[in-house]
Protein backbone atom coordinates (compact mmCIF):
# COMPACT_ATOMS: atom_id res chain seq x y z
CA UNK A 1 0.00 0.00 0.00
CA UNK A 2 1.10 3.60 -0.13
CA UNK A 3 2.06 6.72 1.69
CA UNK A 4 3.20 5.11 4.91
CA UNK A 5 6.51 6.86 4.54
CA UNK A 6 5.17 10.13 5.98
CA UNK A 7 6.74 10.98 9.36
CA UNK A 8 4.65 9.59 12.18
CA UNK A 9 4.70 12.76 14.23
CA UNK A 10 1.22 12.52 15.67
CA UNK A 11 -1.50 10.01 16.35
CA UNK A 12 -3.19 8.83 13.16
CA UNK A 13 -6.63 9.62 14.59
CA UNK A 14 -7.25 11.81 17.60
CA UNK A 15 -10.65 12.67 19.06
CA UNK A 16 -10.90 15.25 21.81
CA UNK A 17 -14.18 15.73 23.66
CA UNK A 18 -16.36 15.00 20.62
CA UNK A 19 -20.07 15.56 21.11
CA UNK A 20 -22.83 15.05 18.59
CA UNK A 21 -26.41 16.16 18.93
CA UNK A 22 -29.21 15.14 16.60
CA UNK A 23 -31.59 17.93 17.50
CA UNK A 24 -32.01 17.33 21.21
CA UNK A 25 -30.77 13.79 21.05
CA UNK A 26 -27.27 13.50 22.44
CA UNK A 27 -25.72 10.70 20.39
CA UNK A 28 -22.03 11.19 21.29
CA UNK A 29 -21.23 12.47 24.74
CA UNK A 30 -17.61 13.50 24.95
CA UNK A 31 -15.50 10.98 23.10
CA UNK A 32 -11.73 11.05 23.67
CA UNK A 33 -9.81 8.57 21.60
CA UNK A 34 -6.23 8.30 20.32
CA UNK A 35 -5.33 5.81 17.64
CA UNK A 36 -1.73 5.38 16.63
CA UNK A 37 -0.55 4.87 13.11
CA UNK A 38 -0.98 1.27 12.03
CA UNK A 39 -3.20 0.47 14.97
CA UNK A 40 -6.39 -1.52 14.54
CA UNK A 41 -9.05 -0.27 16.93
CA UNK A 42 -12.15 -2.39 17.40
CA UNK A 43 -15.33 -0.70 18.60
CA UNK A 44 -18.03 -2.79 20.24
CA UNK A 45 -21.20 -1.85 22.06
CA UNK A 46 -24.94 -2.30 22.06
CA UNK A 47 -27.24 -1.11 19.33
CA UNK A 48 -27.82 2.61 19.37
CA UNK A 49 -24.74 3.29 21.43
CA UNK A 50 -23.31 5.60 18.78
CA UNK A 51 -20.74 3.41 17.05
CA UNK A 52 -21.88 4.32 13.54
CA UNK A 53 -22.22 7.95 14.52
CA UNK A 54 -18.62 7.93 15.76
CA UNK A 55 -17.30 6.72 12.39
CA UNK A 56 -19.51 9.19 10.53
CA UNK A 57 -18.12 12.04 12.58
CA UNK A 58 -14.56 10.96 11.88
CA UNK A 59 -15.00 11.10 8.13
CA UNK A 60 -17.17 14.23 8.36
CA UNK A 61 -20.39 12.82 7.03
CA UNK A 62 -21.85 14.30 10.20
CA UNK A 63 -20.67 17.64 11.52
CA UNK A 64 -19.61 17.36 15.14
CA UNK A 65 -21.30 19.62 17.69
CA UNK A 66 -18.38 20.03 20.03
CA UNK A 67 -14.76 18.90 20.32
CA UNK A 68 -12.01 18.23 17.80
CA UNK A 69 -11.18 15.44 15.37
CA UNK A 70 -7.62 15.24 14.06
CA UNK A 71 -6.25 12.85 11.46
CA UNK A 72 -2.49 12.69 11.07
CA UNK A 73 -2.32 15.77 13.30
CA UNK A 74 -4.54 17.87 11.07
CA UNK A 75 -7.72 19.30 12.50
CA UNK A 76 -10.64 17.96 10.48
CA UNK A 77 -13.25 20.29 9.00
CA UNK A 78 -11.90 23.49 10.51
CA UNK A 79 -9.06 25.86 10.68
CA UNK A 80 -8.40 27.09 14.22
CA UNK A 81 -7.37 30.76 14.32
CA UNK A 82 -7.52 33.16 17.28
CA UNK A 83 -9.32 30.56 19.33
CA UNK A 84 -12.20 30.28 16.84
CA UNK A 85 -13.00 27.50 14.39
CA UNK A 86 -13.19 28.63 10.79
CA UNK A 87 -15.09 26.19 8.63
CA UNK A 88 -13.04 24.87 5.73
CA UNK A 89 -14.16 25.17 2.13
CA UNK A 90 -16.11 22.19 0.79
CA UNK A 91 -13.16 21.43 -1.46
CA UNK A 92 -10.76 21.21 1.48
CA UNK A 93 -13.18 18.96 3.35
CA UNK A 94 -13.39 16.64 0.32
CA UNK A 95 -9.61 16.46 0.28
CA UNK A 96 -9.56 15.53 3.97
CA UNK A 97 -12.18 12.83 3.38
CA UNK A 98 -9.95 11.08 0.88
CA UNK A 99 -7.68 10.09 3.72
CA UNK A 100 -10.38 7.89 5.21
CA UNK A 101 -12.11 4.98 3.55
CA UNK A 102 -15.46 3.82 4.83
CA UNK A 103 -17.44 0.60 4.52
CA UNK A 104 -21.05 1.05 5.50
CA UNK A 105 -23.40 -1.09 7.50
CA UNK A 106 -25.80 -1.00 4.54
CA UNK A 107 -23.38 -1.37 1.60
CA UNK A 108 -24.58 1.79 -0.24
CA UNK A 109 -23.32 0.53 -3.56
CA UNK A 110 -24.01 2.71 -6.58
CA UNK A 111 -26.88 0.81 -8.22
CA UNK A 112 -26.29 2.21 -11.69
CA UNK A 113 -22.72 0.93 -11.90
CA UNK A 114 -21.41 -2.59 -12.21
CA UNK A 115 -19.32 -4.12 -9.47
CA UNK A 116 -16.16 -3.03 -11.25
CA UNK A 117 -17.67 0.39 -11.94
CA UNK A 118 -18.27 0.86 -8.24
CA UNK A 119 -14.71 -0.05 -7.40
CA UNK A 120 -12.99 2.16 -9.99
CA UNK A 121 -15.24 5.18 -9.44
CA UNK A 122 -12.99 6.62 -6.74
CA UNK A 123 -9.63 5.95 -8.44
CA UNK A 124 -10.83 7.38 -11.76
CA UNK A 125 -12.90 10.33 -10.55
CA UNK A 126 -11.01 11.38 -7.46
CA UNK A 127 -7.46 10.16 -7.94
CA UNK A 128 -7.61 10.67 -11.70
CA UNK A 129 -5.94 7.36 -12.46
CA UNK A 130 -6.29 6.43 -16.16
CA UNK A 131 -9.24 4.18 -16.74
CA UNK A 132 -7.25 1.20 -17.99
CA UNK A 133 -5.03 1.19 -14.97
CA UNK A 134 -7.97 1.75 -12.65
CA UNK A 135 -9.66 -1.32 -14.12
CA UNK A 136 -6.59 -3.32 -13.36
CA UNK A 137 -6.55 -2.07 -9.77
CA UNK A 138 -10.28 -2.66 -9.51
CA UNK A 139 -10.00 -6.23 -10.73
CA UNK A 140 -7.27 -6.87 -8.19
CA UNK A 141 -9.44 -5.55 -5.41
CA UNK A 142 -12.41 -7.59 -6.54
CA UNK A 143 -10.23 -10.69 -6.71
CA UNK A 144 -9.05 -9.99 -3.19
CA UNK A 145 -12.62 -10.23 -1.90
CA UNK A 146 -13.36 -13.29 -4.05
CA UNK A 147 -15.51 -11.75 -6.78
CA UNK A 148 -13.36 -12.26 -9.87
CA UNK A 149 -16.16 -13.34 -12.18
CA UNK A 150 -18.87 -10.94 -11.13
CA UNK A 151 -17.31 -7.64 -12.19
CA UNK A 152 -20.02 -6.94 -14.77
CA UNK A 153 -23.00 -7.59 -12.51
CA UNK A 154 -25.06 -4.74 -11.19
CA UNK A 155 -25.55 -4.60 -7.42
CA UNK A 156 -29.13 -5.84 -7.57
CA UNK A 157 -27.95 -8.95 -9.37
CA UNK A 158 -25.72 -9.85 -6.43
CA UNK A 159 -26.55 -11.57 -3.19
CA UNK A 160 -26.22 -9.62 0.04
CA UNK A 161 -22.85 -11.07 0.79
CA UNK A 162 -21.56 -10.34 -2.67
CA UNK A 163 -22.72 -6.75 -2.39
CA UNK A 164 -20.92 -6.12 0.87
CA UNK A 165 -17.73 -7.52 -0.58
CA UNK A 166 -17.93 -5.10 -3.50
CA UNK A 167 -18.35 -2.27 -0.99
CA UNK A 168 -15.17 -3.33 0.77
CA UNK A 169 -13.29 -3.50 -2.50
CA UNK A 170 -14.51 -0.04 -3.36
CA UNK A 171 -13.12 1.43 -0.16
CA UNK A 172 -9.83 -0.44 -0.49
CA UNK A 173 -9.35 0.77 -4.05
CA UNK A 174 -8.88 4.31 -2.75
CA UNK A 175 -5.91 3.18 -0.62
CA UNK A 176 -6.83 5.50 2.25
CA UNK A 177 -4.69 6.30 5.28
CA UNK A 178 -7.39 5.27 7.72
CA UNK A 179 -10.06 2.70 7.05
CA UNK A 180 -13.35 2.87 8.87
CA UNK A 181 -15.43 -0.29 8.82
CA UNK A 182 -18.99 -0.18 10.08
CA UNK A 183 -19.84 -3.85 10.68
CA UNK A 184 -18.20 -4.93 7.46
CA UNK A 185 -18.90 -8.62 7.97
CA UNK A 186 -22.43 -8.42 9.29
CA UNK A 187 -23.91 -9.44 5.93
CA UNK A 188 -21.16 -11.86 5.00
CA UNK A 189 -21.50 -15.54 5.50
CA UNK A 190 -19.05 -17.14 7.91
CA UNK A 191 -17.04 -18.84 5.21
CA UNK A 192 -16.02 -15.49 3.76
CA UNK A 193 -15.36 -13.70 7.02
CA UNK A 194 -12.02 -15.49 7.04
CA UNK A 195 -11.05 -14.10 3.66
CA UNK A 196 -11.90 -10.58 4.68
CA UNK A 197 -10.03 -11.08 7.89
CA UNK A 198 -6.95 -11.94 5.88
CA UNK A 199 -7.39 -8.80 3.79
CA UNK A 200 -7.67 -6.69 6.91
CA UNK A 201 -4.62 -8.33 8.41
CA UNK A 202 -2.68 -7.56 5.22
CA UNK A 203 -3.76 -3.96 5.52
CA UNK A 204 -2.68 -3.77 9.11
CA UNK A 205 0.71 -5.20 8.21
CA UNK A 206 1.19 -2.58 5.51
CA UNK A 207 0.72 0.18 8.08
CA UNK A 208 -2.94 0.94 7.56
CA UNK A 209 -4.74 2.47 10.49
CA UNK A 210 -8.20 1.06 11.02
CA UNK A 211 -11.29 1.59 13.11
CA UNK A 212 -13.63 -1.32 13.01
CA UNK A 213 -17.11 -1.55 14.42
CA UNK A 214 -18.07 -5.19 14.72
CA UNK A 215 -20.18 -7.66 16.58
CA UNK A 216 -17.86 -10.56 15.82
CA UNK A 217 -16.03 -10.83 19.09
CA UNK A 218 -13.71 -13.62 17.93
CA UNK A 219 -12.70 -11.56 14.95
CA UNK A 220 -12.18 -8.51 17.16
CA UNK A 221 -9.91 -10.43 19.44
CA UNK A 222 -7.81 -11.72 16.58
CA UNK A 223 -7.37 -8.56 14.54
CA UNK A 224 -7.65 -5.77 17.11
CA UNK A 225 -4.70 -3.99 18.69
CA UNK A 226 -7.11 -2.14 20.89
CA UNK A 227 -10.73 -2.51 21.86
CA UNK A 228 -13.22 0.22 22.76
CA UNK A 229 -16.55 -0.46 24.39
CA UNK A 230 -19.20 2.20 23.82
CA UNK A 231 -22.54 2.67 25.50
CA UNK A 232 -25.02 5.58 25.48
CA UNK A 233 -22.67 7.71 23.43
CA UNK A 234 -19.65 7.40 25.70
CA UNK A 235 -16.57 5.22 25.77
CA UNK A 236 -17.10 3.08 28.83
CA UNK A 237 -13.88 1.10 28.66
CA UNK A 238 -10.91 0.62 26.40
CA UNK A 239 -7.90 -1.66 26.40
CA UNK A 240 -6.08 -4.56 24.84
CA UNK A 241 -8.78 -6.88 23.35
CA UNK A 242 -7.61 -10.11 24.92
CA UNK A 243 -7.30 -8.53 28.35
CA UNK A 244 -10.56 -6.67 28.07
CA UNK A 245 -12.50 -9.69 26.92
CA UNK A 246 -10.99 -11.84 29.60
CA UNK A 247 -11.37 -9.32 32.45
CA UNK A 248 -13.66 -6.38 31.72
CA UNK A 249 -13.44 -3.67 34.36
CA UNK A 250 -16.77 -1.88 34.00
CA UNK A 251 -19.91 -3.69 35.11
CA UNK A 252 -21.64 -2.49 31.94
CA UNK A 253 -18.95 -4.15 29.81
CA UNK A 254 -19.19 -7.27 31.88
CA UNK A 255 -22.96 -7.41 31.35
CA UNK A 256 -22.58 -6.86 27.60
CA UNK A 257 -19.85 -9.46 27.19
CA UNK A 258 -21.66 -12.01 29.31
CA UNK A 259 -24.49 -11.95 26.76
CA UNK A 260 -22.25 -11.93 23.74
CA UNK A 261 -19.67 -14.54 24.51
Amino acid sequence: MSRHATPDRAAAVLLEGVHKFFGNYHALRGIDLTIAKGEVCVVIGPSGSGKSTLLRCINQIEQISAGRVRIGGTLQGYDERNGRLHELSPRAIDRQRRLTGMVFQRFNLFPHMTALGNVIEGPVQVKRIPKAEARRIGRDQLARVGLTDLEDRYPNQLSGGQQQRVAIARALAMEPEVMLFDEPTSALDPELVGEVLDVIKDLAASGMTMILVTHEIGFAREVGDRMVFMDHGTIVEEGQPKQMLAAPKSTRTQAFLSKVL
Binding site: R29, S65, Y78, H86, P90
Partner: protein
Amino acid sequence: MASGHDDAARDEGQKVRLNDVVPHRHPGRWVAVALLAVVVAQVAHGIIVNPNFHWDVFWQYLFAPTVMAGVGWTLMLTVIAMLVAIVCAVILVLMRDSENPILRTVSWLWIWFFRGTPLYTQLLFWGLFAVLFPRLSISVPFGPEIIGVPTDWVVTAGVAAILGLGLCESAYLAEIFRAGFRAIDRGQTEAAQAIGMSKGRIWWRILLPQALRTIIPPTGNETIGMLKGTALVLAVPFTLDLMFATNAISNRIYLPVPMLMVAAFWYLAITSVMMIGQYYLERHFGRGQDYVPTRHA
Protein backbone atom coordinates in the same frame (compact mmCIF):
# COMPACT_ATOMS: atom_id res chain seq x y z
CA MET B 1 -33.32 0.25 26.14
CA ALA B 2 -33.16 3.67 24.51
CA SER B 3 -35.52 5.14 27.12
CA GLY B 4 -34.45 8.20 29.00
CA HIS B 5 -31.80 9.19 26.44
CA ASP B 6 -33.69 12.23 25.33
CA ASP B 7 -34.15 13.71 28.77
CA ALA B 8 -30.57 13.01 29.70
CA ALA B 9 -29.45 14.72 26.53
CA ARG B 10 -31.27 17.86 27.42
CA ASP B 11 -29.84 17.93 30.93
CA GLU B 12 -26.34 17.33 29.79
CA GLY B 13 -26.77 19.60 26.77
CA GLN B 14 -26.46 22.58 29.07
CA LYS B 15 -22.99 21.60 30.16
CA VAL B 16 -21.46 20.89 26.73
CA ARG B 17 -19.70 23.92 25.26
CA LEU B 18 -20.58 23.68 21.60
CA ASN B 19 -17.98 24.54 18.99
CA ASP B 20 -17.98 28.21 18.08
CA VAL B 21 -17.74 27.95 14.32
CA VAL B 22 -17.10 30.69 11.76
CA PRO B 23 -18.90 29.44 8.62
CA HIS B 24 -17.08 29.23 5.32
CA ARG B 25 -17.71 32.34 3.18
CA HIS B 26 -18.75 32.31 -0.46
CA PRO B 27 -18.06 35.82 -1.80
CA GLY B 28 -18.95 34.86 -5.38
CA ARG B 29 -22.51 34.23 -4.29
CA TRP B 30 -22.91 37.72 -2.95
CA VAL B 31 -21.72 39.25 -6.19
CA ALA B 32 -24.36 37.19 -7.98
CA VAL B 33 -26.99 38.41 -5.54
CA ALA B 34 -26.02 42.04 -6.08
CA LEU B 35 -26.15 41.68 -9.87
CA LEU B 36 -29.54 40.04 -9.70
CA ALA B 37 -30.89 42.74 -7.43
CA VAL B 38 -29.88 45.45 -9.89
CA VAL B 39 -31.48 43.67 -12.84
CA VAL B 40 -34.70 42.98 -10.95
CA ALA B 41 -34.93 46.56 -9.72
CA GLN B 42 -34.44 47.97 -13.19
CA VAL B 43 -37.03 45.69 -14.77
CA ALA B 44 -39.53 46.38 -11.99
CA HIS B 45 -38.95 50.11 -12.34
CA GLY B 46 -39.39 49.90 -16.09
CA ILE B 47 -42.68 48.09 -15.72
CA ILE B 48 -44.15 50.32 -13.06
CA VAL B 49 -43.48 53.62 -14.81
CA ASN B 50 -44.30 52.42 -18.34
CA PRO B 51 -47.61 53.94 -19.55
CA ASN B 52 -48.39 50.86 -21.67
CA PHE B 53 -49.25 48.94 -18.56
CA HIS B 54 -52.16 51.25 -17.71
CA TRP B 55 -52.15 50.41 -14.06
CA ASP B 56 -55.37 52.38 -13.56
CA VAL B 57 -57.19 50.03 -15.93
CA PHE B 58 -55.58 47.09 -14.15
CA TRP B 59 -57.02 48.18 -10.81
CA GLN B 60 -60.37 49.02 -12.37
CA TYR B 61 -60.90 45.51 -13.71
CA LEU B 62 -58.97 43.44 -11.19
CA PHE B 63 -62.08 42.60 -9.19
CA ALA B 64 -64.65 43.05 -11.98
CA PRO B 65 -67.54 40.58 -11.61
CA THR B 66 -66.87 38.86 -14.94
CA VAL B 67 -63.21 38.43 -13.99
CA MET B 68 -64.12 36.99 -10.62
CA ALA B 69 -66.59 34.62 -12.24
CA GLY B 70 -63.83 33.66 -14.69
CA VAL B 71 -61.55 32.83 -11.77
CA GLY B 72 -64.26 30.61 -10.34
CA TRP B 73 -64.91 28.78 -13.60
CA THR B 74 -61.22 28.35 -14.30
CA LEU B 75 -60.70 26.85 -10.87
CA MET B 76 -63.66 24.56 -11.29
CA LEU B 77 -62.54 23.37 -14.71
CA THR B 78 -59.03 22.78 -13.39
CA VAL B 79 -60.15 20.77 -10.40
CA ILE B 80 -62.68 18.61 -12.23
CA ALA B 81 -60.48 18.01 -15.26
CA MET B 82 -57.59 17.15 -12.97
CA LEU B 83 -59.72 14.61 -11.14
CA VAL B 84 -60.76 13.06 -14.45
CA ALA B 85 -57.10 13.00 -15.46
CA ILE B 86 -55.94 11.37 -12.25
CA VAL B 87 -58.56 8.63 -12.44
CA CYS B 88 -57.72 7.93 -16.09
CA ALA B 89 -53.99 8.03 -15.39
CA VAL B 90 -54.30 5.49 -12.60
CA ILE B 91 -56.22 3.19 -14.93
CA LEU B 92 -53.61 3.75 -17.65
CA VAL B 93 -50.75 2.88 -15.30
CA LEU B 94 -52.51 -0.26 -14.14
CA MET B 95 -53.25 -1.20 -17.77
CA ARG B 96 -49.66 -0.63 -18.71
CA ASP B 97 -48.52 -3.02 -15.98
CA SER B 98 -51.15 -5.55 -16.97
CA GLU B 99 -50.34 -9.01 -18.26
CA ASN B 100 -52.84 -8.56 -21.05
CA PRO B 101 -50.93 -7.38 -24.11
CA ILE B 102 -53.95 -5.69 -25.63
CA LEU B 103 -54.62 -3.58 -22.56
CA ARG B 104 -50.93 -2.67 -22.50
CA THR B 105 -51.12 -1.66 -26.15
CA VAL B 106 -54.26 0.40 -25.63
CA SER B 107 -52.63 2.18 -22.72
CA TRP B 108 -49.58 2.86 -24.81
CA LEU B 109 -51.63 4.11 -27.78
CA TRP B 110 -53.69 6.36 -25.55
CA ILE B 111 -50.60 7.95 -24.05
CA TRP B 112 -49.01 8.27 -27.46
CA PHE B 113 -52.03 9.87 -29.04
CA PHE B 114 -53.02 12.29 -26.30
CA ARG B 115 -49.46 13.38 -25.63
CA GLY B 116 -48.76 13.71 -29.29
CA THR B 117 -51.57 15.92 -30.52
CA PRO B 118 -51.99 19.55 -29.49
CA LEU B 119 -54.52 20.22 -26.75
CA TYR B 120 -56.13 22.95 -28.83
CA THR B 121 -56.82 20.50 -31.64
CA GLN B 122 -58.22 17.99 -29.19
CA LEU B 123 -60.50 20.59 -27.63
CA LEU B 124 -61.67 21.65 -31.05
CA PHE B 125 -62.44 18.04 -31.81
CA TRP B 126 -64.43 17.67 -28.59
CA GLY B 127 -66.32 20.81 -29.49
CA LEU B 128 -67.11 19.35 -32.91
CA PHE B 129 -67.85 15.93 -31.43
CA ALA B 130 -71.59 16.55 -31.40
CA VAL B 131 -71.36 17.63 -35.06
CA LEU B 132 -69.33 14.62 -36.15
CA PHE B 133 -71.26 12.09 -34.10
CA PRO B 134 -74.79 13.43 -33.67
CA ARG B 135 -76.03 10.44 -31.65
CA LEU B 136 -74.40 8.44 -28.89
CA SER B 137 -75.82 4.97 -29.11
CA ILE B 138 -75.30 1.45 -27.97
CA SER B 139 -75.77 -0.64 -31.05
CA VAL B 140 -74.85 -3.84 -32.74
CA PRO B 141 -71.39 -2.94 -34.05
CA PHE B 142 -71.98 -1.21 -37.40
CA GLY B 143 -75.54 -2.50 -37.18
CA PRO B 144 -78.86 -1.14 -35.89
CA GLU B 145 -79.03 1.05 -32.84
CA ILE B 146 -80.31 -0.41 -29.58
CA ILE B 147 -80.51 2.71 -27.44
CA GLY B 148 -79.23 6.21 -28.07
CA VAL B 149 -79.37 9.89 -27.16
CA PRO B 150 -78.45 13.03 -29.08
CA THR B 151 -74.80 13.70 -28.38
CA ASP B 152 -75.30 17.33 -27.43
CA TRP B 153 -77.50 16.30 -24.52
CA VAL B 154 -74.51 14.53 -23.07
CA VAL B 155 -71.48 16.34 -24.44
CA THR B 156 -72.32 19.92 -23.51
CA ALA B 157 -69.67 22.62 -23.75
CA GLY B 158 -68.70 22.10 -20.10
CA VAL B 159 -68.47 18.34 -20.51
CA ALA B 160 -66.49 18.72 -23.72
CA ALA B 161 -64.06 21.10 -22.04
CA ILE B 162 -63.55 18.78 -19.10
CA LEU B 163 -63.18 15.70 -21.29
CA GLY B 164 -60.75 17.49 -23.57
CA LEU B 165 -58.58 18.80 -20.76
CA GLY B 166 -58.86 15.69 -18.61
CA LEU B 167 -58.14 13.05 -21.23
CA CYS B 168 -55.17 14.93 -22.63
CA GLU B 169 -53.79 15.46 -19.16
CA SER B 170 -54.28 11.81 -18.22
CA ALA B 171 -51.62 10.82 -20.73
CA TYR B 172 -49.08 13.17 -19.17
CA LEU B 173 -49.96 12.13 -15.64
CA ALA B 174 -49.68 8.46 -16.55
CA GLU B 175 -46.04 9.05 -17.49
CA ILE B 176 -45.40 10.84 -14.23
CA PHE B 177 -47.05 8.14 -12.16
CA ARG B 178 -45.09 5.45 -13.95
CA ALA B 179 -41.84 7.24 -13.15
CA GLY B 180 -42.83 7.64 -9.51
CA PHE B 181 -43.47 3.96 -9.09
CA ARG B 182 -40.26 3.03 -10.82
CA ALA B 183 -38.25 4.79 -8.15
CA ILE B 184 -39.42 2.50 -5.36
CA ASP B 185 -37.18 -0.34 -4.25
CA ARG B 186 -38.74 -3.67 -5.12
CA GLY B 187 -38.00 -4.85 -1.58
CA GLN B 188 -41.01 -2.80 -0.56
CA THR B 189 -43.37 -4.86 -2.68
CA GLU B 190 -41.76 -8.07 -1.49
CA ALA B 191 -42.07 -7.14 2.16
CA ALA B 192 -45.72 -6.27 1.65
CA GLN B 193 -46.39 -9.48 -0.27
CA ALA B 194 -44.78 -11.37 2.57
CA ILE B 195 -47.40 -10.11 5.00
CA GLY B 196 -50.06 -11.25 2.54
CA MET B 197 -51.20 -7.89 1.20
CA SER B 198 -53.05 -8.03 -2.10
CA LYS B 199 -51.72 -6.31 -5.19
CA GLY B 200 -54.26 -3.51 -4.88
CA ARG B 201 -53.58 -2.93 -1.23
CA ILE B 202 -49.83 -2.94 -1.75
CA TRP B 203 -50.33 -0.39 -4.45
CA TRP B 204 -52.50 1.81 -2.32
CA ARG B 205 -50.83 1.54 1.10
CA ILE B 206 -47.17 0.93 0.33
CA LEU B 207 -46.24 2.05 -3.15
CA LEU B 208 -48.51 5.03 -3.70
CA PRO B 209 -47.57 6.94 -0.53
CA GLN B 210 -43.90 6.50 -1.33
CA ALA B 211 -44.36 7.27 -5.01
CA LEU B 212 -46.27 10.42 -4.16
CA ARG B 213 -43.05 11.94 -2.85
CA THR B 214 -41.69 12.04 -6.37
CA ILE B 215 -45.05 12.31 -8.11
CA ILE B 216 -46.22 15.45 -6.36
CA PRO B 217 -43.79 18.03 -7.78
CA PRO B 218 -44.33 17.15 -11.47
CA THR B 219 -48.04 16.76 -10.82
CA GLY B 220 -47.94 20.24 -9.36
CA ASN B 221 -46.43 21.33 -12.65
CA GLU B 222 -49.20 19.64 -14.52
CA THR B 223 -51.91 21.14 -12.36
CA ILE B 224 -50.51 24.58 -12.97
CA GLY B 225 -50.22 23.74 -16.67
CA MET B 226 -53.84 22.67 -16.59
CA LEU B 227 -54.79 25.94 -14.96
CA LYS B 228 -53.24 27.75 -17.89
CA GLY B 229 -54.60 25.18 -20.32
CA THR B 230 -58.12 26.18 -19.43
CA ALA B 231 -57.50 29.29 -21.53
CA LEU B 232 -57.75 27.04 -24.59
CA VAL B 233 -61.29 25.87 -23.88
CA LEU B 234 -62.47 28.65 -26.17
CA ALA B 235 -61.89 26.03 -28.84
CA VAL B 236 -64.84 23.99 -27.52
CA PRO B 237 -66.24 26.79 -27.19
CA PHE B 238 -66.47 27.21 -23.46
CA THR B 239 -66.50 30.92 -22.78
CA LEU B 240 -66.58 31.49 -19.05
CA ASP B 241 -62.96 30.99 -18.06
CA LEU B 242 -60.64 33.68 -16.76
CA MET B 243 -58.64 34.19 -19.95
CA PHE B 244 -61.78 34.51 -22.02
CA ALA B 245 -63.24 37.01 -19.55
CA THR B 246 -60.18 39.26 -19.65
CA ASN B 247 -59.81 38.88 -23.41
CA ALA B 248 -63.43 39.88 -23.89
CA ILE B 249 -62.81 43.04 -21.93
CA SER B 250 -59.63 43.88 -23.78
CA ASN B 251 -61.36 43.31 -27.11
CA ARG B 252 -63.94 45.84 -26.01
CA ILE B 253 -61.67 48.46 -24.45
CA TYR B 254 -58.71 47.79 -26.75
CA LEU B 255 -56.15 47.63 -23.94
CA PRO B 256 -54.78 44.10 -23.87
CA VAL B 257 -51.73 44.69 -21.67
CA PRO B 258 -53.48 45.66 -18.43
CA MET B 259 -56.07 42.93 -18.99
CA LEU B 260 -53.30 40.37 -19.49
CA MET B 261 -51.84 41.64 -16.23
CA VAL B 262 -55.20 41.08 -14.54
CA ALA B 263 -55.26 37.51 -15.84
CA ALA B 264 -51.62 37.01 -14.86
CA PHE B 265 -52.36 38.34 -11.39
CA TRP B 266 -55.10 35.81 -10.82
CA TYR B 267 -53.20 32.92 -12.33
CA LEU B 268 -50.29 33.82 -10.10
CA ALA B 269 -52.56 34.05 -7.07
CA ILE B 270 -54.11 30.64 -7.76
CA THR B 271 -50.69 29.16 -8.46
CA SER B 272 -49.41 30.52 -5.16
CA VAL B 273 -52.21 28.86 -3.26
CA MET B 274 -51.52 25.64 -5.13
CA MET B 275 -47.82 25.83 -4.33
CA ILE B 276 -48.61 26.21 -0.64
CA GLY B 277 -50.85 23.18 -0.88
CA GLN B 278 -48.08 21.32 -2.69
CA TYR B 279 -45.62 22.19 0.05
CA TYR B 280 -47.82 20.64 2.71
CA LEU B 281 -48.60 17.60 0.59
CA GLU B 282 -44.91 17.06 -0.03
CA ARG B 283 -44.14 17.40 3.63
CA HIS B 284 -46.87 14.95 4.49
CA PHE B 285 -45.71 12.31 2.04
CA GLY B 286 -42.05 12.98 2.72
CA ARG B 287 -42.39 12.17 6.41
CA GLY B 288 -39.92 9.57 7.52
CA GLN B 289 -38.10 9.77 4.22
CA ASP B 290 -36.83 13.28 3.64
CA TYR B 291 -33.35 13.80 4.93
CA VAL B 292 -32.90 16.65 7.33
CA PRO B 293 -29.17 17.27 7.03
CA THR B 294 -27.15 17.86 10.15
CA ARG B 295 -24.10 18.99 8.23
CA HIS B 296 -24.73 21.71 5.73
CA ALA B 297 -21.54 21.97 3.69
